[in-house]
């Protein structure tokens, strides 16, 4: 799992619909996350959307850190 850092931009407004067909407009940052087939298979196999404790803490932390590391580097180089 990687963030495509070269695609990370700010000042972008993405207006679209989410997976529930709810519309949204978010102005701020936009980034692209790339996941392998194996990673998606493993993540979905371990994920229970009705369980408030899912996904596991380690999984949540792994995904979050990938995003935050990219955002932190971007913010530091684009003050």
């Amino acid at each position: 799992m990687k963030v495509d850092y070269s695609s990370l931009i700010k000042d972008v407004a993405n207006a679209s619909l989410d997976e529930n067909d709810d519309d949204f407009l978010i102005e701020g940052y936009s980034l692209k996350i790339c996941l392998s087939y194996d990673e998606v298979d493993a993540l979905l196999a371990a994920y229970d959307p009705v369980d408030p404790n899912s996904p596991a803490e380690a999984t949540s932390r792994e995904i979050t850190r990938v995003i935050l590391n990219a955002l932190k580097k971007y913010r530091e180089s684009h003050p």
């Binding site: 000042d11 972008v12 407004a13 993405n14 207006a15 679209s16 619909l17 519309d23 407009l25």
Partner: protein, 255 residues
Amino acid sequence: MALVLDGGKWVLQAPSSGGSEYDKTLTIIDLTDGSWTLYDPDSLIDTTYGTNGVTFASDFNTIQFNNLAVGSSNYNWVGSVHRAPRWYKTLTINGNDVAGEDTLTGVFRIEDDDTVSDFNRRLILGWSEDPTAVAASGTIITAASYNRSEGSAPLHGAFSYQSDSSISDANGAYVVANLMRKKYADLGGGYYIIYNSSDSVLRVGTAGGTLGFNNAGVTMKLIVGVGPRLNTSIIPAGSLFKAKLSYLVSTIVTT
């Protein structure tokens, strides 16, 4: 030279040499020239103004709106319902109607005049499979885009199907978007460059395409869509939207 029928007008053109062409110019859109049809299912355009709600001068179209007292997702081009006003005409190149099966490329330019435009607004300029449809699944639009809330920086970008990606820059004067599509294979998306008033590049961006929603047996149309920026945006009666719009489109033989 050859005399060809292009968009309802006879024009004298140099024969195509194939390959690349240098310094091609864009076609300025005049919504009052009689070639465009207004489709406005809920009468948001004040058709008592100008020609079907539009005046044209110095390459700019000025559109006047009726009152929209309560905002609605029906009139925000971003979303699955497309009931906002739009002008359209058949996309014709050198006398040939462009089919949905054609591989189509296009450059679209939007320049808003913020000294006149005066509400939270959105504009799309591109192509559509059926501009008289009222759902994204029917209109099938790929377009350059502009949106702005009064008091905030303008946003320029690209629109595809029911989504818009645009970049905010206070000095953004106009956008040039490069779009592409082919039936079933690619529903556009676009790359765009935002320029300042000195024609220098400010920002670049992309808008992803949406795959697989194309309809069969269609003739492609050019479309100019306008409306409120957000689902909650209202339009005071008499509001104006002034913009210079232009394009250059080509079909490509890929075999």
